[in-house]
Amino acid sequence: KSTSTSSKGGNTINVGVDYELSNDLAQYGQASLDGIKLAVEEINKAGGVLGKQIKLNIQDNKSDAAEATNVATKLAGAGVVAILGPATSGNVKAVRPVVTQNKIPLITGSATADDVTLTSNGVAKYIFRTCFNDSFQGGSMAKFALENLKARTAVMYIETTSDYSKGLAKSFKEVFTSNGGKILGEEYYQSKDKDFRSVLTKIKGYNADVIYVPGYYNEVGLIIKQARDMGITAPILGGDGFDSEVVPQEAGASLDKVYFTNHYSADDTDPKVVEFRKAFKAKYNKEPNAFHALAYDEMYFLADAIKRANSTDPEKITDALASTKDFKGVTGTLSVDDKHNPIKSVVVVEWKGDKQVFVTKINP
Amino acid sequence: MMLELKDLHVYYGAIHALQGISLKVEEGEIVTLIGANGAGKSTTLNTISGLNRVQNGSIIFNGKDITRMSPPDIVKLGICQVPEGRRIFPNMTVLENLELGAYLRSDKEGIKKDLEDVYRRFPRLLERKGQLAGTLSGGEQQMLAIGRALMSRPRLLLMDEPSMGLAPIIVKDIFNIIKEINQSGTTILLVEQNARMALSIAHRGYVLETGRITLEGPAKELADNPQVQKAYLGG
C-alpha cells in the first residue's frame, strides 16, 4: 500500500505526533511535546519548510503500546509525512511495523534501547532518533566512573518497569565489568515510588565506590536526597534522565557528587544551546530538560531532512534522514550512522547546587 | 386529631401500592391496621415516617402537614416506628442500638431513666447489652426494636407486626407492653397479622385490602364482623 500524498498539495506539511500525553508517562510525553511545539513555532515563524507551514497532528497514546499503534495507524491514514514519538522504546517498537508498512519515517527523542532501530531483519529503515542509544550512554558513564572517578566497585539502582533504565544498566555493567570494575549489587525501584530508604539502607551496606542510578529525574531527585540524608556519600551517577531542574529542587542541599551523561551541559556557551534555553524559558517559564531538548531537535532534524529532500514525500524524507551529516542541533552535532543512531559526543555533567557544570566530553 | 391521612396515593414504580388511604388516629388511642399480605400496611407506615414519596394526598400530624418532610424531621416531631423485620443494627451492640433510639434527645437523665425502663420491660436485653445485636435470636431482636423505639419517647408509635416470630409467652407480653405504653400516654398505630390480639387491645381498627381501606370502626365491632372473622381471625 503506498502512502497517501494528500499532504503534498496544500500549503502545510502535516507532521504526526504520537506521544505519551496521559497516564504514567505523561510527564515525559508532554515535555517532549513542549519541545516540539517550540521548534514548530520557530520554524513556522521563520517561513516554514519549503515555504510551507508545519502543522502538527497531535495524538495521545495513553502511555500504552497498543494505543500507540492505534494512533500511528490513524496518523498514517491521515497522510502525515512523518511521525514524532513515542517517547519510550517499547512504544516505538510497537509502532515500528505500522510506519514500516506505511513507509513513513518516525523520529523519537527518547527511545534509547539499542534494538529500537534494529530488528531481526536488520536496520529498521524508517526509525530514527536524536538520543543516544543505551550502549553508548551507559558505556560512557562506566568509562567515566572507572577512569575519572577511579571507581572499582559499583551498585546499580534500577527502575524495574523502565526499558530505559534497564538498558542503561545493562551496558554500564558490561563496560564496567569488562574493564575491571565490579558490580556489587543490583537493586530496583518503581517509577512513582517516593520512599527509597529500605533499599538505600541496603545499598549503604554495599559500600560501593559509586552508585549508578539510571532513572528519570522525578525519582532520582528523591533518591539522591534520601541517600545523602542517610549518610551515603558515594558519587551517584546517571544518564540524561537526570537533566531536569526537578533534581536540584527535590534534592536541595543534598545534591553532592552527582554526575550524569548528557547531550549538552547547561553551562555550555554554544550559542545554539544558549538561544534554545532562552527561547524555552521565555515560552514556558522553566529550564528545559533533556526531553525538551531532544524533542526540539527531533523537529529540526525532520525539517532539515525535508529541506534536503526538497520534498514532502515520506520515502524521500526517510532517505534524507538516513543520510544526515553534521546536523547541528541543540543536543549536539549529529550524523546518522548505518544503524540509524545519531553519532554525537556525550558530555558528563555534574550537578553543583542548582547549576550544571561541564566535566568532560566523551566522543563516540 | 393527632394524625390524619387524606386520600394517600403511593407508587413503587408502576405498582400502585396505596390507592387513596384515609385514616385518623386520635391522641391516646391504639388504632390497628389489619389486612392480608401485600395489602399495603407497611407501605402506609413507611409513608407516614417519610420513607416513601407521596404521589397524592396528605399526612397531617397535630395540625401540621408532614407529607413531604424528611424522616429525621418527622422523628423530631415525635413519630417513631418499630419497622417490619426489626431492622436493628446487627454490627452494633444492644446498648448502642438503644442509644441510637435516643439519637435526637439530649436530656442525659431522661435517657438514663428510659434505658432502665426498657431493661425492666425486657430483662433479656439487659443480659445481652454488650452482645452484637445481629447475633440475637429473632425474638430478642424484636424486643430490641421495640425498646429502641421507646428510647425516643415517641408521641405516636408506629408498630409494624411487632409480634411476628415471637414465642406465645412473649406475644402476650408484647401486647401487654403495647397497652402499657399506650396507657402511659403514647398513641399507637399498630399493624398486625395477629388480628385477634390486635383488635383485643385496640380502640379502633381499619381493614386494608390491596391498597384501599375497606372497613373501619371500633375494634369490638370489627372483631364481631363476620367478614373480618372469616378473613382475618381464622373463622
Binding site: 496521559s22 512513582k192 529500605s198 533499599v199 541496603k202 540524608d229 549518610g231 | 424528611s70
Partner: protein, 294 residues
C-alpha cells in the same frame, strides 16, 4: 542488627504514610461501602493546595495545612453530593466506576491547569536527620511527625466513631440507611460529615507527604491511593485501628522484602504475603468476622 532496626524503622515510617491515607479511606469505606478511588486524588489536590498556599500565598506550615484540609473537606463533600449521592441505591461496582470517573477528572483537570510537571515545596518545615548507633540508624523529624500524627488521628477517629453521637450515627447509616432515618438520623448530613472528615485527612496527608518527600505531581495519588485501599482491606474494612495496622504492616512488608529478599519483587512478594494473610483471616486483620446469622 543496626541495619535490621533501621529497616524496621523505614518500614514503620513508610507504613505510617500508608496509614495516614488508609484512615480516611476506611472511614468513607465503612460508611457507604464505597471504594472511593478518588481518595488518593483528594490527597493530591490537598498537596497542590498546600503548594499554592506556601508558594503563592506564602503561608506558614500550619495555616497551609488548615487551608488544605478545609478545601479538601469541601471537595469531598462536593464529590459525594455530585457523584455518589445520586447512586446510593445502585450496586457498589457502579459506584466504583463513578469513583474512577471522579478520580480521572481530578487528576487530569489538575494536570491541565498545573501541567504534568513535578513541583517541589518550599522549605516551610526544615528536615532534621538524627542519627544513632554510630550512624547506623537515622531518623528524621518529619518521619516522627507523620508517625505521631497518624497515630493521633487514629485515636481521634476511633474515639469519634465509637464514642460520639455522630460516630454512632455514621455506623448506623453504614448498616441500614432507612432504619437510621427512623432513628432521626439525617443520613445526608452524616455522610457529608464522613466525607468531609475523610477528605480533610487526605488533604492533611497530601501536605505532609508533599512536604516530606518534597515532590508532587498530578498523578501522585494513584499509587498511594491503591496502597491505602490495600492497607484498609488488609486491616479489615471499616476498622480504624485496622487501617492503621494494615498501613504499618504493608510498609513493613514492603521494606523488609526490598531489604532482605529482592527489591525487584517487592510488590509481588508483598501481595503474596497479603493474600496468604487474607486467606487465613478472610475479613482482614481486625475486620469483624461477621458470620451472617442464618
Amino acid at each position: 542488627m543496626g541495619v535490621f532496626i533501621q529497616q524496621l524503622l523505614n518500614g514503620l515510617f513508610l507504613g505510617s504514610i500508608y496509614s495516614l491515607l488508609a484512615l480516611g479511606y476506611t472511614m468513607v469505606y465503612g460508611i457507604i461501602n464505597l471504594i472511593n478511588f478518588a481518595h488518593g486524588d483528594v490527597y493530591m489536590v490537598g498537596a497542590y493546595v498546600g503548594f499554592v498556599a506556601t508558594t503563592v500565598l506564602h503561608l506558614g506550615f500550619v495555616p497551609s495545612l488548615i487551608l488544605s484540609m478545609a478545601i479538601s473537606a469541601v471537595l469531598g463533600i462536593v464529590i459525594e453530593k455530585v457523584a455518589y449521592k445520586p447512586l446510593r441505591n445502585s450496586s457498589r461496582i457502579t459506584l466504583l466506576i463513578t469513583a474512577i470517573g471522579v478520580s480521572l477528572l481530578l487528576e487530569y483537570i489538575t494536570m491541565y491547569i498545573a501541567g504534568p510537571d513535578t513541583r517541589t515545596f518550599p522549605k516551610v518545615l526544615v528536615n532534621h536527620e538524627y542519627t544513632f548507633w554510630g550512624g547506623q540508624i537515622s531518623i528524621s523529624n518529619m518521619q516522627i511527625y507523620i508517625l505521631v500524627i497518624s497515630l493521633a488521628l487514629m485515636v481521634l477517629l476511633q474515639f469519634i466513631v465509637q464514642r460520639t453521637k455522630i460516630g454512632k450515627a455514621m455506623r448506623a447509616v453504614s448498616i441500614d440507611k432507612d432504619a437510621a432515618q427512623l432513628m432521626g438520623i439525617n443520613v445526608d448530613n452524616t455522610i457529608s460529615v464522613t466525607f468531609a472528615l475523610g477528605s480533610a485527612l487526605a488533604g492533611a496527608a497530601g501536605v505532609l507527604v508533599g512536604l516530606y518527600y518534597n515532590s508532587i505531581d498530578p498523578l501522585m495519588g494513584i499509587m498511594p491511593g491503591l496502597k491505602a485501599f490495600i492497607a484498609a482491606v488488609f486491616g479489615g474494612i471499616g476498622s480504624i485501628p485496622g487501617a492503621m495496622m494494615g498501613g504499618l504492616l504493608l510498609g513493613m512488608i514492603e521494606t523488609l522484602v526490598s531489604g532482605y529478599i529482592n527489591s525487584n519483587f517487592r510488590d509481588a512478594v508483598a501481595f503474596i504475603i497479603l493474600i496468604l494473610i487474607l486467606l487465613i483471616k478472610p475479613s482482614g486483620l481486625l475486620g469483624k468476622n461477621t458470620v451472617e446469622k442464618v
